[in-house]
Every structure is written in C-alpha cells, then in structure tokens.
C-alpha cells in the first residue's frame, strides 16, 4: 500500500460528516438546505458503505422525528440543517429533550430571520439553539471555529449526546461550514467514542427513567426485550404520563441536574494569550479567526489582549470569564448577530470590566481590522 499523506484538504461540512461517522453515527435523516447540504450529500454516499442508512425526509420536522425514532431503535443518529430548517425542528427538539433521546443536530447558520441570507454567514441562531423549543429544558450547544475542530466537535457532540441522553447541537456558521482547510485527522480507531448506557438488569426490573447516581438512566433500544413507554408528556420514572406535581417536578429537574453534573466536561473553552491579558476578546465560530489575527497585531502594538474562545455556548461556560475578570479592564465581543452572547458576557461580568460589542448582520464577517480599531479605542 502506498503511504498516504496524513493531511487532507477538507471543507467544514465534510469534517462534520466525517466526525459524526467516526463517532459511530450510522443513521441520517435530513432535508436539503443551504449551507448544510454537503453533509447530507456526503452521508448519503458514506453511510451505506458502513452499513448505515440515509433517508431524505419530506421536511425538517420529519427529519428530526426520524432520527429520534432511529435513536430509540439503537442507532447513533444525526441530522443537518440551517436556520429555517432549524426553526421547524424546534417542536421535536423539545420532544428529544423530554424523552432524553440522544441525537445530534448540525445547524450551519445563515443570515435570518426567515429565509434571510441563504448563503451568507451569520451567528443569529445562538439564542434559538438555547431557547427555540418551548418549555424549560437544558441543551448542549458546541460551536467549532476551524475545519479540523469541526471534526473533533462532531465526535464530542455525539459522545455527549450519548453520555447525557440529551440532544446536542453542533452550531456551525457558513464560514466554517464552507471553508476548505488542510486538516490532520486521527484514524477512526484512535477516536474515543461513548455509547449510551444500556440496562443490564432483567426486563421486569427495568424502570426506564430511574436515574443512576450520574443522573442519567440506562436506555434500552426498542426490540431488545425491555418493553417500555416513551412519551412527550411529562412522565413518571416508569415513563407513563403523570400530572402529579411531585413527579412532574422530578421529571423536569432531573433534566437539568444531569447537565449540571456534567457542566465542566461539557464546557469546551480555549484561552490564547490570556495569562497577562488586560483586555479580552470573547469569540466563537468564524469570529475566532478574525479575533486571532487581530490579537497578533494588537500584541505587536503593545496592547495586552487575549482571546477567550468559546467552544461550548450552552450551557454558558461562565467560569471561563469569571476566572479572568479580576485582571481584565475591557472585554470585546464580536458577533455576527445583534449581541446574543454579549448579553451573557454582560450578565456574568456583573459590572466589573467594560464590556463592548461589535455586530454585523449584513452577511459580511467582522474583519480583523475592525476588531483592532475597536480594541484600540477601548484600550486607550
């Protein structure tokens, strides 16, 4: 066999598909939408090769319904979409939260609201990813900022969904989704994968929603002999509908508790030049690219600025900010929305540093020069 180069030229969407497969995803249901379509196209070819299945559904409502069904059937399941499709998925996203069904939704964000700017970058779905479906619920949202990272975050997204029995959203932006970059990916055999915990007791002892000490209950697949009920109604530990206040409270609080327990593991944050930083840029997704470039130049000009790169947006990694707040004079939050994470930063900052934002909602990205100019004004 010829020696293969460890490097590959790959698009972000391709890396998402590759990471999902490496993590064990063997089922995909989706509906075509720009700028995420490449993920569906790739998986329609690759999944059958792996013995998995791809299906194109009639809309995004059906797509997420199908992956919930597949997940209950035992498959690691994925769908991919963009803003308008993500809006349609909100109904069954809530269903997956309440029934604690592992699945991953890739949302490659585009300009909105509505049909918006279909092929232009945006980060407008940050709050929708958090609160788009009705009712109180926890959610896990990961946001990669490079092509290579997209692969690893896709793996992480699948693993977290399996471990916590919770839907995970891989929130990409159009820049990361369509950007091609040289990547070095590990062979699949080296990729750490997590599988949902299965019941090991006899079926008659199985109580489907009884939580372990980790706050997550073992999950049987349909057809394995553990006949149980799954419903979008608030349910008791047996999975049967209940309207008793004590059982309802236990059901909903249990959802939050499992994510709170895993908070540290779920939160992915990187720090660049933060050690001696007096000023910080908080960025995620494609804004990390502009921020990194800006920081190099600002440092060269003698301004002590660092980057807090958020890989996890929800639950919001507040400790990442709190740790540095005593040393920070200013915090700048560049976003391709009107300030969705900015508000979280202001909340955590609680009046300590000066917090400023740069926003763009016209389909263009914020350039390094714009960040430099803004930071120079603030640091003066």
């Amino acid at each position: 066999m010829s020696k293969k180069s460890p490097y590959r030229l790959m698009q972000g969407n391709e890396a998402a598909a590759e990471g999902a497969m490496a993590a064990g995803v063997r089922f995909f249901a989706g509906y075509p939408i720009t700028p995420s379509t490449e993920i569906a196209e790739i998986l329609s070819i690759r999944l059958p090769e792996l013995g998995g299945k791809f299906i194109q559904m009639e809309d995004e409502i059906a797509s997420i319904a199908a992956i919930i069904g597949a997940s209950l059937g035992g498959a690691k399941a994925l769908t991919a979409t963009s803003g308008p499709g993500f809006s349609l998925m909100q109904e069954n996203l809530g269903y997956a939260c309440l029934t604690e069904t592992p699945l991953v939704i890739v949302n490659v964000m585009r300009g909105g609201p509505s049909t918006g700017l279909p092929t232009s970058p945006s980060q407008g779905d940050v709050m929708q990813a958090r609160w788009g479906t009705h009712g109180d619920h926890p959610i896990i949202v990961l946001c990669p900022s490079s092509v290579e990272e997209t692969f690893h975050y896709a793996v992480k997204a699948v693993n977290l969904s399996e471990k916590y029995r919770n839907p995970v959203i891989l929130l990409m932006d159009e820049v990361i989704g369509h950007m091609r970059a040289r990547v070095e990916l590990p062979p699949w055999s080296m990729v750490e994968t997590v599988n949902r915990i299965k019941p090991n007791m006899p079926p008659e002892w199985y109580i489907p929603y009884e939580r372990s000490s980790m706050g997550v209950s073992p999950m049987a697949s349909f057809g394995e002999g553990y006949r149980y009920h799954v419903t979008g109604l608030v349910h008791d530990v047996k999975g049967f509908p209940t309207s008793k206040p004590r059982e309802a409270r236990e059901n909903i609080l249990g959802l939050f508790k499992k994510i709170e327990r895993g908070f540290k593991e779920i939160c992915l944050v990187d720090y660049i030049h933060m050690k001696d930083a007096q000023h910080a840029i908080v960025a995620y997704g494609c804004m990390v690219l502009s921020a990194r470039s800006a920081i190099e130049q600002l440092r060269a000009d003698g301004i002590k600025v660092g980057l807090i790169k958020l890989g996890t947006l929800w639950p919001f990694p507040r400790f990442a900010l709190e740790h540095f707040l005593p040393q920070l004079k200013t915090i700048l939050v560049p976003e391709l929305n009107m300030g969705q994470i900015y508000r979280e930063v202001v909340r955590v900052n609680a009046g300590r540093a000066v917090v400023e934002k740069i926003n763009k909602i016209n389909g263009e990205i914020i350039s390094p020069d714009e960040i430099i100019k803004s930071m120079k004004g603030l640091a003066r």
């Binding site: 059906a62 069904g69 399941a77 062979p187 699949w188």
Partner: protein, 282 residues
C-alpha cells in the same frame, strides 16, 4: 378465539394506572381490541412490536398495551416510525393516528409515507372530529356537519382518507368501521402481514362530541348508522355514484405488490459495501 379477559391479561399493562382516558361509549377501545386480536392470531411476539402514535384520543392507545410504545408529537408519528423501522427492521411497526393527526397536521408525513412504501401498518381512527380538544371540525368532518368551531355546519370539503392513501401510492389500503369488529380484526391482520406500507382506515364513533354536536344520538345510534352505511367493496362496485352517496365502502380497497423501501435500501448497502474494500479506512 381468545376471550377479552385473556386478551387484557396477555397484552395490557397492569402497572399502568387504569382506567383509560376514553369516554364511555368511545369506539377507540374497539379498534385497540381488534388490533390486539389481529396480533394474537398472527402470533407476533410482544418484544417485536413497536406501537407508535401521535396526539389526540387515538394517541393514547399505546400507553395501555405491553409493547415497545412510542407516543410522539401531533401528526409526526409516521416520521418517528420511519426512523425506528430503518434502525431496526426486525420491529413490526404499527402506527395509530387520528383523522386530524394523519391528514391535517400530519398530512404531509402521511402522503410521503404512502409513496415510500416502508413495511409498516397505519391504523387511522377516523371519528370525523377533534375529540380531545373539544369537538372542532377536522379534515374528515362531512360538509354540513357541525363541530365546536363550525356551529353553522362545515363549509369545507372532507378528505377521503383511503382514496388519499391510494392516490399517494400506499400498497395496501382497507376501510372498516367499529361496528364491523370481525372485519376490523381481519383487515388489520391482512395489513400487518402485507409487506409494504398498509393503511387501515377505521370509521369510529365519538358520541361525546360528534354525536352530541350533530344530534345523531349516543354510541348505539352511531354504531347503527355505521352498520347501515357500510357497503362492502364487492357490492359497491355494482352500485352507481348516486346510490353510494353517504355510504362507507369497506373491505380491502387496494392491494398491490410494490418494492418495499428497506429491501431496496439493503440492496444499496450491499452494493456500496462491495465497492468499498478496506472497511472503515478513513
């Protein structure tokens, strides 16, 4: 034939807090009974059955029976069932839906499930009304009939569910009523055995809402109406359109041998795997 007592003991969930939520005189229990008898006579194992539903009165059917049961969102049952079946083809997937569930909010999923022809059985509880929310008119409420949101009479035209299923490509379509309990069992049995997407439309009665709003009497009168309105397909073929007005045509309406989706997909997998050597090399 298995007795009702044995049927309850064998298939119902004893740890579920009975009684059920259906009103006195409701036809839904008759449909569930018919389904259980069909399952029992085929001899399907409980572990192999996935019983999926949407929202509404029909949506509550799965919780009472001891299968793998999935109570989904309104109208989406078939989409959930599609993923479930593809992930585990060994499952015998049966989907219960109401008329609003399957042809209003879930109309799109319904027609696409019909044309895809995945091996599963859809049982549609057609009571011509939204029962659970208080009797609003549905896509099958007859023209002129009353609902809590059409007190003056329905000015819309109803769907013919079986005709819709046939036109959308379902490979098996049958219709019966809750009066015709033996035919009901028989048709569900045929539908389960059919290899492909099978639809059984069951005309059922909602005495609490449809019966009261339209002043057609209680459960007895409504069942009597079903008995008098039903015409078997064979007999109907010899009748004119005028004679058939307001009648319910029952029996197997469509049965065609079409390629099943999973079979075709497994062929794609086989070919794809043949072309790729080296398995999971990335």
């Amino acid at each position: 034939m298995i007795s009702n007592a044995e049927l309850v003991k064998k298939y119902c969930r004893h740890d579920k807090k009975f009684p059920h939520i259906w009103c006195p005189g409701c036809g839904n229990g008759i449909i569930l009974n018919g389904m259980l008898r069909a399952i029992d006579s085929i001899g399907l194992a409980k572990d192999d059955i996935a019983f999926v539903s949407g929202i509404g009165c029909s949506g509550r059917a799965p919780v009472y029976v001891d299968f793998n049961t999935l109570h989904t969102t309104h109208g989406r049952a078939l989409a959930f069932a599609t993923g479930l079946k593809l992930a585990n083809e060994k499952l015998q997937v049966i989907v219960a839906m109401g008329d609003g569930d399957s042809t209003a909010i879930g109309g799109n999923h319904f027609i696409h499930a019909c044309r895809r022809n995945i091996d599963m059985t859809a049982i549609i509880f057609n009571n011509y009304i939204y029962g659970m929310t208080g009797g609003q008119y549905s896509p099958t409420t007859p023209h002129g009939a009353k609902g809590s949101t059409c007190r003056a009479g329905n000015i819309e035209n109803p769907f013919n569910i079986s005709a819709l299923a046939e036109a959308a490509g379902a490979s098996f379509v049958a219709r019966t009523t809750t009066y015709h309990v033996m035919q009901l069992q028989d048709l569900i049995k045929k539908a389960i055995r059919h290899h492909g997407f099978a639809v059984v439309e069951v005309v059922t009665h909602c005495p609490t809402l449809y019966g009261r709003l339209n002043k057609v009497g209680g459960a007895t009168e409504m069942l009597k109406w079903q008995k008098e309105s039903a015409i078997h397909k064979k007999k109907a073929e010899k009748m004119t359109a005028e004679e058939l007005a307001g009648k319910i045509i029952t029996g197997v309406l469509v049965e065609r041998d079409l390629p099943e989706y999973c079979d075709l997909y497994n062929e794609i997998i086989r070919e794809a795997q043949e072309q790729v050597s080296g398995g999971e090399a990335s």
